[in-house]
């Protein structure tokens, strides 16, 4: 269903763009009634055979200017354009009545609307149908992150010297592997909580994320007291994230 929606969107986009492309073009065969008084927006050049012969044999041509950019089209121009079999002229003025691609553009607009509807419908249906067992729930991911942070806190609370490399490694697992998994479920969360709810949740979560990144940087630089403080702040913000998630899920 989703693939069909995207296919319709792609085809409709092509139709819309192709339809738009002819907005300023006027077909020469429509004659002086339509063309007279319009202003050309491009130089209309027609190829004429060039001398000397060898160059011509190689496919070289010279050109003759039939209509210059900015020139008002008169009867002489129309006649010369028709004689040279020029099919279209690009003009400065736009008119709905002259626009040949308007129905194609309209079709594109309708197609984009329809395609968007199908894509949205299919995306919602896919989210509703996907069993929770297939993907980890946000709560489960958050719990895993909190467990990772707890490991870091335990390491920091051990008596004696802190193993800085071990601390950096534990923090690395949290910031590089565990934290990115939470926002990866964005679509699912937006579908469940709405964009406003998701934003409120991410407000707390992103603050925790930043504290844990700071803890990593401070550890790498050897500022372990700063790292410890950041880990504590991060842990506290993760609790707030958990509470917000539970509120959104209606547990509380």
């Amino acid at each position: 269903m989703k693939v069909l929606g995207f296919l319709i969107v792609a085809l409709a986009l092509v139709a819309g763009l192709v339809g738009s492309g002819s907005a300023y073009l006027v077909r020469v065969e429509r004659g002086p009634d339509v063309l007279l008084g319009l202003t050309s927006n491009e130089n209309v050049l027609v190829p004429v055979p060039a001398a000397p012969a060898p160059a011509n044999e190689r496919g070289d041509t010279s050109t003759q200017v039939l209509l210059e950019r900015g020139e008002r089209i008169d009867a002489g121009h129309v006649e010369a354009l028709a004689r040279a079999n020029v099919r279209h002229v690009r003009v400065e003025e736009f008119a709905l009545a002259r626009w040949e691609g308007k129905w194609l553009f309209a079709l594109g607009v309708l197609g984009l609307g329809l395609g968007a509807f199908i894509v949205r419908y299919a995306a919602r249906a896919a989210l509703a149908d996907a069993p929770d067992a297939e993907t980890r729930t946000p709560s489960a991911i958050l719990a895993e992150i909190r467990a990772g942070v707890e490991r870091v806190r335990t390491r920091l609370q051990r008596p004696g010297a802190v193993d800085q490399d071990g601390l950096l490694s534990d923090l690395g697992i949290v910031v590089e592997d565990q934290l990115p998994a939470f926002p990866a479920g964005r679509d699912r969360m937006v579908a469940r909580f709405g964009l406003g709810g998701y934003a409120a949740l991410m407000d707390r979560f992103a603050a925790a994320e930043r504290q844990l990144h700071r803890a990593w940087s401070a550890t790498a630089d050897g500022y372990l007291e700063e790292a410890a403080e950041c880990v504590e702040r991060g842990a506290s913000l993760l609790v707030e994230s958990q509470e917000e998630l539970e509120r959104l899920e209606g547990v509380r």
Binding site: S20, V162, Q164, G196, Q211, H213
Partner: protein, 746 residues
């Protein structure tokens, strides 16, 4: 709260320095970091502004500043935490970034006949507007940090690359080696692309050319691609090769690999209207890799534009019959793809903003709530931001008001000759009226009219005079018809606001300009966030069109003033967001970054304007023209803007295409991804050779993710891709610096 921890002697040791200007034990904002950023930002600003005027685009400074920050702060000064170096790169990029906004717009005034210098009021008004733009850009985008970085999770490829560099000391040896490998590889790939600027040999010297079929006939025989082939040459050296083989008509079959591009399409024998060209740009591969799937949409859009639309336009007879097949892509790009692409960008961005409204509301609510908290906020408060925005708005109004209250015409309508040139030498000037681009560049540059003579209001414009006598002739001897004819010659049609008093008009322009800056800043930040590309010149073009429509087609100075402010603002907005993304990834406090960036960024436009003055003065001495064709600094983007201004004056703008593109962009965003219109619009707006190379990076990321896993890509692919971005940027800056110091061919 934890007890302070002890750590073993063998562990990394913190530096003995204090915590910095905002307190705290962990150094973040320190004087060495700020001073390094200011100094190096100023150097980068000058070097990149100069090269940007030569080649038409600029390079991102954050990654270079991060690398050098490590070298200087950690290496030489033996200090510098990860966050300190982050502040150094934040300040450096804040000072450097506004240069592109200035050099893409301001030089158009020289091209159109104005003479700007420190002695002219116009010079200072434009500088003031650019400073206002820099502050506005930052102040407007800061409240969207939460929405773009924390909620939308935009990727910001270069910013991720900078974070990888900053974290490299703690990331382990293996990762650091991968980063260095990426840097070295990028330098090796880019070296032959940059060497020709210094007089060295490059990719073009490999001599990989098209095959010339032997059956073409008799002529000089040459060895081409390892085989004997016939090359047609006339006695004078004029080419006798068919144009399909020798598009530049230099008598040689065309190169398949030029200085910085590879034409795979011609090698494969694709029709001329399908140009499959790849830029030799490792940074684009790196950016594509970091963008991943989102970038693939840009590639798809590029293929749609350049391999479906353009050939269709040819087959349907939409292109002028005199064009050769290989000229179709450029013609179609200008006539169809670019305006539609800009429209798609606008519509897509509008849809993105509408779709994100709940998130924006929640983000703003969070900032307001934390601002009221006794614990203080990690974010710059709304009051501060509103204050900064109001101050910048006031600066913009002052600049617009001054411009509105002075003459619109750089030349006197009555006595065009003789007119004193800037250095005081009399010159036999030309007649007033519309100045064609070629004439502009060839004509001597005139000083602004004598400001002591009070201008006269006519047709919504203030007309200036060289002398009191000329003013008297205008008032007493010229009829209204003659005066209207003068305005018509200048293509000075009235705008929508022409009937309003000048102060009110200036206020409205400042307000509309500020609103447009906010919206354009969002567009650019979204584009940069999703793909690393920013359509700055497209936004400048729209700004100039908008202001000319409001003030009248003759109000070039006002349009360029607002256009320059906008360009500076949107580049600063994108830079601010990129720096904040880097900050998020290394754990920096956003508030501190925002403060230093807002303070430092105002310096950037002043430096670039000074550089422009130096360059134009030097050019006047050497070439007799201040800037543009005929000089080393051709200012390609300003020339494009000049064409737009002349196009607006001549009524040639395809407004309907912008509108249709916008509608399509809005509808594209109705599906599952509101930013789709932005990505497709960007792909139609950019030249295909960059999209193609960028696409290689995207495809690589997707393939590697599938076969090696997403985790592998994050661990090893990201540092390598970051290295590709940094390596090219560093080498490009070195080349720029060498060219600036006179190394290479004159």
């Amino acid at each position: 709260m934890q007890e302070p921890q002890r750590h073993p002697a063998s562990a990394r040791q913190p530096t003995a320095h204090g915590g910095g200007l905002f307190g705290g034990r962990y150094p973040e904002v320190t004087w060495p970091a700020v001073l390094f950023g200011l100094f190096f930002g100023a150097v980068m600003n000058a070097a990149i502004a100069y090269s940007g005027l030569k080649i038409g685009f600029t390079i991102v400074g954050s990654a270079i500043a991060a690398v050098l920050g490590f070298g200087v702060l950690r290496g030489l000064l033996r200090r510098g935490s990860i966050l300190e170096v982050n502040i150094a790169q934040t300040v450096a990029s804040a000072v450097n970034t506004p240069n592109s906004g200035v050099i893409f717009t301001v030089p158009v005034l020289w091209l159109l006949g104005w003479s700007l210098g420190p002695g002219d009021l116009d010079f200072w008004l434009i500088t003031l507007a650019c400073v206002a733009g820099a502050i506005l850009g930052g102040a407007f985008i800061v409240p969207l940090r939460k929405q773009m970085i924390e909620v939308e999770r935009l990727r910001f490829p270069s910013a991720v690359g900078v974070a990888v560099i900053l974290k490299s000391p703690g990331a382990g040896t293996a990762k650091s080696l991968v980063l260095v490998a990426g840097i070295v590889l990028a330098m090796l790939i880019y070296l032959p692309a940059g060497l020709p600027d210094l007089g060295g040999k490059g990719y073009g010297d490999v001599g990989w050319r098209l095959d010339v079929p032997v059956e073409l006939g008799s002529g000089a025989t040459a060895n081409i691609d390892g085989r004997e082939a016939t090359v047609w040459r006339s006695g004078s050296g004029a080419s006798r090769l068919p144009v399909e083989l020798d598009r530049d008509r230099n008598g040689e079959p065309d190169l398949l690999m030029t200085k910085d591009r590879i034409d795979v399409g011609r090698w494969m024998g694709l029709p001329g209207e399908m140009q499959m060209v790849f830029a030799i740009a490792p940074f684009a591969i790196g950016a594509g890799f970091l963008s991943g799937k989102a970038g693939l949409l840009v590639l798809a859009g590029g293929i749609l534009a350049f391999f479906v639309l353009n050939p269709l336009a040819l087959r349907l007879g939409w292109m002028p019959p005199g064009l050769l097949a290989h000229e179709i892509p450029a013609a179609a790009f200008n006539a169809i793809n670019r305006p539609l692409g800009i429209g798609l960008l606008l519509g897509g961005a509008l849809m993105g903003v509408v779709a994100s409204l709940p998130a924006i509301r929640a983000a703003l609510g969070s900032i307001a709530k934390s601002g009221r908290s006794k614990l203080g906020s990690d974010e710059l408060g709304m009051k501060t931001l509103v204050g900064a925005a109001l101050a910048a708005l006031l600066l913009l109004f002052i600049a617009a008001d001054f411009v509105e209250n002075q003459a619109f015409n750089p030349r006197c309508p009555i006595t065009p000759a003789p007119v004193e040139v800037a250095d005081g030498v009399a010159n036999e000037g030309t007649a007033p009226g519309q100045v064609a681009p070629a004439e502009v560049t060839a004509a001597p540059q005139f000083a602004p009219i004598d400001r002591a003579v009070e201008p006269v209001q006519h047709g919504g414009y203030r007309v200036g005079f060289a002398t009191e006598e000329a003013r008297r002739v205008w008032a007493e001897q010229w009829s209204d018809i003659e005066r209207d004819q003068f305005l018509a010659k200048q293509n000075a049609k009235p705008g929508f606001l022409s009937g309003l008093p000048s102060h009110l008009r200036a206020l409205l322009i400042a307000l509309i300009g500020a609103g447009w800056i906010w919206f354009a800043g969002i567009i650019i930040a979204q584009c940069t966030g999703m793909t690393d590309w920013s359509p700055i010149s497209g936004m400048a073009l729209l700004t100039v069109v908008l202001i000319l429509a409001l003030l009248g087609s003759g109000a070039v100075l006002g349009a360029v003033l607002i256009g320059a402010a906008l360009c500076v603002a949107i580049t600063c907005a994108a830079d601010m967001m990129g720096d904040l993304k880097t900050g998020h990834l290394v754990g920096a406090q956003p508030r501190r970054q925002q403060i230093v960036e807002l303070i430092a960024t105002g310096l950037g436009p002043i430096i670039t304007m000074a550089v422009l003055v130096v360059i134009t003065k030097a050019n006047m001495g050497t070439f007799g023209v201040p800037i543009g064709p005929g000089t080393d600094t051709t200012a390609p983007q300003a020339q494009a803007l000049q064409a737009v201004i002349l196009g607006v004056q001549g009524g040639e703008m395809p407004y309907a295409l912008y509108g249709f593109g916008s509608l399509l962009g809005i509808l594209l965003g109705l599906g599952s991804f509101p930013g789709l219109g932005v990505l497709v619009g960007l792909s139609m707006y950019l030249p295909f050779f960059y999209i193609a190379t960028y696409g290689i990076g995207c495809v690589l990321q997707i393939v590697l993710s599938r076969f090696k896993g997403a985790r592998w890509c994050e661990h090893w692919g990201v540092p390598f891709a970051a290295g590709l971005i940094v390596g090219e940027a560093v080498l490009a800056l070195i080349f720029n610096a060498l060219v600036l110091t006179g190394v290479g061919p004159s």
